[in-house]
């Protein structure tokens, strides 16, 4: 990043440039990816280790905090990472400011909406209101 000679000493120290942001999205994508590496492998390994994948067995496994908590993390971090990734794709291919904003907003609504569905279903399972 190069700030011109006109930058104030404070501005140069902050090193943010005129947009005042930009690093967070990139860094968040990487940090969530490391979390998802662990959570994704956890999900696949857990499903493989279950004796069967019928409803009773899966519910019994997922009801326990040892599975419900990582699943909640997987849902929240997974949708966040998907949203951040889709933003990169959309920003690369959709250049018109109106269409870009509309698509990114649609993705936000989809991610938050589907994430809420998944969390609500998990809550019903974990808090024992499923027969």
């Amino acid at each position: 990043m190069s700030l011109g000679d006109s930058a104030t000493p404070l501005g140069r120290a902050r090193g943010l440039g005129s947009a005042h942001h930009g690093g967070e999205h990139w860094l968040t994508e990487r940090v969530t990816s490391i979390a998802l590496l662990l959570l994704g492998v956890w999900l696949i390994a857990s499903l493989l280790l279950l004796p069967q994948l019928d409803q009773r067995t899966v519910l019994e496994w997922l009801r326990a905090p040892s599975a419900a908590i990582p699943m909640a993390l997987l849902i929240v971090i997974g949708f966040k990472h998907a949203l951040d990734g889709m933003k990169v794709v959309i920003d690369d291919y959709v250049h018109g400011p109106g269409n870009n904003f509309a698509l990114n907003t649609l993705m936000l609504f989809l991610a938050v909406g589907a994430g809420a569905l998944a969390l609500f279903a998990l809550a019903r399972i974990a808090f024992g209101t499923v027969a």
């Binding site: 990487r30 990816s33 490391i34 590496l37 994704g40 492998v41 696949i44 493989l48 004796p51 069967q52 409803q55 899966v58 519910l59 997922l62 699943m71 997987l74 849902i75 997974g78 949708f79 998907a82 990734g85 889709m86 794709v89 589907a114 994430g115 569905l117 998944a118 279903a121 998990l122 019903r124 399972i125 499923v130 027969a131």
Partner: protein
Amino acid sequence: MNNTSSRPLSPHLTVWRWGPHMVVSILHRATGVALSFAGLGILTWWLWALANGADSYAAFGKAAAHPLGLIVLIGLTWSFFQHLLSGIRHLVMDTGQGFELGVNKTMAILTIVGSLLLTALVWFYLLGGVK
């Protein structure tokens, strides 16, 4: 796209010669999109079906066991491993390493070999009578 100017072109599928690193790069994006929509969509459907009673879970199970459903699930398993291994490669490259042509090409090929191998292991275990 306006190609009449003599300015350099940015990376683009129709401009760059295909090679392992490029295949892996575009696969990272494609598998990311697949996991965002189909992957998280099916995870949400699965949780919703689990929470919603026997009929709902049976409907999910029927769709999952259908040949088309199996193709989608196997495809998503491969997408997950490809995105995971390719993501690790990107994390390595984020530290400034692995840009030498030979190393870069080898890492790219290894992500494909690894993802196919892991997918085969998981589904051999699930379908191959181990369960």
